[in-house]
Subunit: 197 residues, 2 copies
Amino acid sequence: MSATAIAYDRAMSRWEPNARVRLEEAALKLYVERGFEQTTVAEIAKEAGLTERTFFRHFADKREVLFSGSAVLQEILVSHVAGSPGSATPMAAVAGALGATCPLFEERREHARHRQSVIDTSPVLQERELLKLATLGAALAGALRERGTGEPAASLLAETGIAVFRVAFGCWINGSDRRTLADHLGESLTELKSAVR
Amino acid sequence: MSATAIAYDRAMSRWEPNARVRLEEAALKLYVERGFEQTTVAEIAKEAGLTERTFFRHFADKREVLFSGSAVLQEILVSHVAGSPGSATPMAAVAGALGATCPLFEERREHARHRQSVIDTSPVLQERELLKLATLGAALAGALRERGTGEPAASLLAETGIAVFRVAFGCWINGSDRRTLADHLGESLTELKSAVR
């Protein structure tokens, strides 16, 4: 890239503080309307009023646009487990960490529903979503070990926690009622405790 | 394909009753030695003493060779849940079904270890493995619903069961001791019950 192009790029990004969010919204809109396979990066950039170059500054490819939130999720999960009081059981630490992620989603149920509908159309996206969840589970297990939980308990609780979250998330997305994600998460945790006994 | 080629093919497959297993073993050997990405279908077929055409009669591509066991696993899980006594709790039905799959693996720890080492080298294979486990979880949840368990309990127990199996399987593969997969599975279930309380 020439010096002029770099300078132009920097100037543009200064004026595109919300480029990332605009690209995410444009991508999801097109994936819902036309299908994931049928949508190109050029079309997403155009829909967002940005360039392809800007797209690739934010995302490796059109699949990754749907998974940009996982770093923030992981940060919340790990920091909440690390910061949970010493008196909390590992299970309580996991439940607290999962609960701490709910505010990220509560106002965006329509968005979450659209995103899920796109993922459901493509095995490639389903696999990527599962890898994201497995990565979150591994990070959660690591945070539990840091806090003193041994193995296999740390991995078991982390994997179980992610499974509970996944089921609760599905109920919340598909629910037509007014219950929040936090409500569904609490209910799923209670159900699990009673079923495992 | 010409009529002669078809006749040849049929004659060959009559004489290759164990072609599938030979291809699986050849593929795993080459993936371990040379890497998954570096191995071609032609090389796998040659190693097994078979043709590429025979390979593609058994597997869609070189990735699927590593996942051919999942149909059998699903059959075992579903039929054991369906056949578990009416007095068994849903959790006991899941535990019994998971336990029923152990004999498939016990004699093949070295094979399982090699397979896992190959999967660990490739995100594409990790994603496929996760999709396999999610598919098994969905089938298990379906079997529980058939047996009268409501949602979200059915999905929670199924997902949790798969998580427990995954953790136990990892401990078994990495263990240097003489404990069986069934031992590890039992221990993980006990750990989970105590941790969830």
